[in-house]
């Protein structure tokens, strides 16, 4: 046997595999090759030894993290913020995709679609600067508007009472359009005859959504949900670094920012690598668990 059926199949569909190649190379270079650096979590990193030559330190840095007086708070904050993003933020793109699918005026639909994508391409630093300008109690348009209704100015940013709303709202606003693309594609793939048949059976718009659209995108939603659960230990580095301040540190300090500040600002690379590895391990456990549950409950799974 000169070559296995797998390679024959790959050769037959080589053009499609060629499309995959950049993605595979990207993952190899940026996700798999750097894995050798994980060993730093178990070493006392120094400049001369580098990643591979520094002395072994065992679980010293993992212990340091769990001995750190705020580690429980940081883990809790990360999970709370991620859970909120998952439970409230996850359904939003589905909702947008379904709503856009119901719009019959094509031009309007395209405009809304394009506008909803745009924030995704704006960096967090710009978004946060915009928010600072819009929400400041010193002449910000939002507070000016509230003032017209006789309300007192509100300190939206750097305020624990508004922190979760701001984090969640800005995250949804920034990502909803982009995340809805895949659902739009899934909705577009649903056989139109199903809608026509449903119409003939007297189903209204809501019935059609409930019985055709939602089941039609169920599989893709489950897959994306499993992947999202993997980021439960990652609440969003840039957003939290910029929006969290001293006033909200009690509920806004998260693992991602802790890793960056201890690693880059304080130069504790081994410690940061240990915390990052812990974060990734939990994420892996979560993905495997949710994948199993999904497979049992809905027959849809990643692997």
């Amino acid at each position: 046997m000169s070559s296995s059926p797998l390679f024959k199949r790959i050769w037959k569909h080589k053009i499609f595999y060629l499309f995959m190649l950049p993605g595979i190379i990207w993952f190899l270079i940026f996700s798999y090759v750097p894995l050798y650096g994980v060993q730093v979590a178990f070493r006392d990193f120094n400049f001369s030894g580098g990643f591979t030559g520094s002395p072994w330190a065992g679980f010293k840095y993992f212990n340091q993290f769990f001995d750190y007086y705020q580690s429980a708070d940081i883990i809790r904050n990360t999970i709370v913020i991620s859970l909120m993003k998952l439970l409230i933020g996850f359904p939003m793109p589905i909702l947008l995709a379904i709503l856009l699918n119901e719009v019959r005026v094509i031009k309007f639909k395209k405009v809304v679609q394009t506008l909803s994508y745009l924030p995704y391409f704006v960096s967090w630093i710009v978004v946060v600067t915009l928010m600072q300008r819009l929400l400041t109690p010193y002449g910000g348009p939002v507070n000016d508007l509230l003032g017209l209704f006789g309300m007192e100015p509100i300190q939206f940013l750097n305020n624990t009472s508004w922190f979760y709303q701001i984090i969640l709202g800005s995250d949804i606003w920034k990502n909803i359009g982009w995340n809805s693309i895949i659902y739009m594609a899934a909705v577009a793939g649903i056989d139109q005859q199903l809608y026509e048949a449903a119409k003939m059976d007297g189903a209204g718009r809501f019935r059609q959504i409930w019985h055709i659209t939602l089941p039609g995108i169920r599989n893709i939603a489950v897959i994306l949900f499993i992947l999202s659960v993997g980021s439960l230990m990652s609440a969003g580095y840039e957003q939290l670094l910029l929006l969290n301040g001293p006033a909200t540190a009690g509920i806004g300090s998260v693992l991602d920012v802790h890793v960056i500040t201890s690693g880059i600002s304080q130069g504790r690379l081994s410690y940061a690598a240990a915390v990052g590895l812990f974060q990734s391990l939990i994420a892996l456990i979560l993905i495997v668990t949710v994948n199993r549950i999904a497979r049992k409950v809905s027959d849809v799974s990643l692997f």
Partner: protein
């Protein structure tokens, strides 16, 4: 045909995507090729990292002064200025080994710790056997020219080897720069609320002044006037600490030193600032705002009291004062100093000094030393501060005097670019040896008279007893040599953050809980043992007892 087109398009698309992915792996400095010949007669190009956040250079690498330095030393300098955290930058260069030929940066904090770590880990050039050829450099790290604790911690700490050069330390008492840190109030607003700024002496007086300003409901640019504000990320609103404790390590009376964070004085300091925030006296955005936003508030006349050094306040308020005469910021106080006798001179730490090192990967160590030695000479010093003699300045009665043409040119240019484009006020200043601006030169010959007058006026008010440069041992330097330091440092690094978090707390109890939680962590990670080490090390030595921000 269609199939062929599809195939071609597919291949092109894949190729474009692949090249896009691989682009990220390409080296980012491929276009920065610098010559490294270094042979006799050839110009050597050296990359110098000026690790001071926000510093900047000329619009072009080649200024008249740079050209003259190149002629004198055979070294052409390519500057890299840091934009962002200095500590992050220094960690980044050593971790990635993307090193400059010469590094210069702050002589304190995490930046200095990382440089010392690099020295201990054999990353830097040992200068001990080279300094005899470079007398100007040897002078910089002579024991008598470096504060004692710093000398032990950073200069003479490697078994006889020498890695760090210590720059910009005042050569004489006359050369120490007093930045006049303090609280400053807008003269017109103080008059409007009927308070004489010089009658404000105590922390309660200061609180009452802020309260009066708030209660007066003053407006500027259609917005409420903020009673008390600062610059970016809270700089330097916290300098009221001197009203609560004299310095960071307190003499507990029995000769033992105590870290002030563990003392009740620190609680009072936290609660005072918490009161300012909770009553709307201190700008709630003070700790999170960027510099442009802070500057905008000042330029619109919306901040009544500022805490910072005076030059920054003068610069930020210049335009507003020009448009609204009488709205200058004037000093408040002098305010009380915890534990200090009324006639005590202002105890100043002299900053502005920095460390310079040559990484082992430097492409030409001899050229780097030649450049540094020339810049540290009297000729080099005057060149970096005043420019070229005969062109930018001239000697009159034995003292350098600015040429009128350049004085006018620089005064007119509010951006400071005109001066930098001549090569004055750029990175060379940081590597020009000891600060001899007054003893060798004649002060800041480029400062305009109004500014000099304002500084003199503030000095008269804030320094009625003169100043005293701190030369005693600083426990803060000694503690970093304790065996517990590696474990303790992450907790010590949290102190500033904990203070900020506490001042925003919803109640006094919540504020103190934040402080007490960190105290617990400090104890757990070895503070008592580290303090015991400090006390043993400093037994019989003169220790810093008072210190003011400078």
């Amino acid at each position: 045909m269609g199939k062929k087109g599809f195939r071609f398009a597919s291949i092109m698309l894949a190729a474009v995507l692949m090249s896009g992915s691989l682009y990220g792996c390409s080296t980012s400095n491929s276009g920065q090729g610098s010559s490294s010949e270094g042979q006799d007669g050839e110009v050597v190009t050296l990359k110098v990292l000026h690790n001071w956040n926000g510093s900047s250079g000329a619009d072009t690498d080649m200024t008249p002064i740079t050209r003259l330095i190149e002629e004198k030393t055979g070294v052409r300098v390519e500057w890299e200025y840091t934009k962002g955290s200095e500590a992050e930058k220094v960690n980044q260069i050593f971790t990635t080994q993307d090193l400059p030929d010469i590094y210069t940066g702050p002589a304190w904090g995490g930046e200095l710790d990382s440089i010392i770590k690099a020295a201990k880990e054999d990353q830097l050039v040992d200068l001990s056997d080279k300094l005899d050829k470079y007398p100007n450099l040897a002078n910089l790290i002579a024991q008598e020219n470096v504060p004692p604790a710093l000398y032990e911690k950073a200069i003479d700490a490697y078994g006889g080897k020498k890695y760090l050069l210590f720059q910009n330390q005042p050569a004489t008492d006359k050369d120490g720069i007093d930045w006049l840190y303090g609280f400053y109030v807008r003269k017109d607003l103080a008059e409007e609320v009927g308070v004489d700024p010089q009658s404000v002496k105590t922390k309660d007086d200061l609180y009452q002044l802020m309260k009066r300003i708030k209660d007066a409901n003053l407006k500027a640019a259609g917005l409420p006037v903020i009673p008390f504000g600062g610059f970016h990320n809270g700089w330097a609103v916290g300098i009221g600490n001197n009203m609560f404790y004299p310095t960071e390590y307190l003499d507990s009376g029995n000769g033992e030193l105590k870290y002030v964070f563990m003392d009740n004085a620190y609680d009072n300091y936290v609660l005072y600032y918490r009161k300012l925030i909770s009553e709307g006296l201190l700008d709630p955005e003070a700790f999170t705002q960027t510099d442009p936003i802070a500057q905008e508030k000042i330029k619109q006349g919306r901040v009544a009291i500022l805490a910072a050094h005076y030059p920054a306040i003068l610069d930020a308020s210049k335009d507003y004062v020009k448009a609204n005469p009488g709205s200058d910021y004037v000093p408040v106080g002098p305010l009380e100093r915890a534990g200090a006798e009324p006639d005590r001179p202002a105890d100043l730490r002299i900053q502005g000094n920095n460390v310079t090192v040559i990484p082992k990967k430097s492409k030409n160590v001899e050229a780097a030393l030649r450049l540094l030695d020339f810049l540290a000479s009297d000729e080099g010093f005057l060149l970096t501060r005043y420019g070229i003699e005969g062109t930018h300045w001239e000697m009159k009665d034995g003292k350098p005097v600015a040429k009128q043409e350049f004085f006018d040119k620089f005064t007119e240019d509010a951006t400071g670019k005109a001066r930098k484009n001549e090569g004055i006020g750029i990175g060379f200043e940081s590597i020009s040896g000891q600060d001899r601006l007054n003893s060798l030169g004649s002060g800041d010959i480029w400062a305009d008279q109004d500014r000099n007058a304002a500084m003199d006026f503030a000095r008269q008010i804030l320094r009625p007893n003169g100043t005293k440069i701190i030369t005693a041992f600083s426990p803060g330097d000694v503690i970093t040599k304790s065996p517990q330091w590696e474990n303790l440092k992450p907790s010590m690094d949290k102190v500033g953050d904990a203070w900020k978090e506490a001042v925003y707390a919803k109640s006094d109890e919540a504020a103190l809980k934040i402080i007490n939680d960190l105290r617990g962590q400090l104890n757990k990670t070895g503070l008592p043992e580290a303090m015991q080490f400090v006390n043993e090390q400093l037994k019989g030595k003169e220790v810093v007892k008072f210190g003011m921000t400078n």
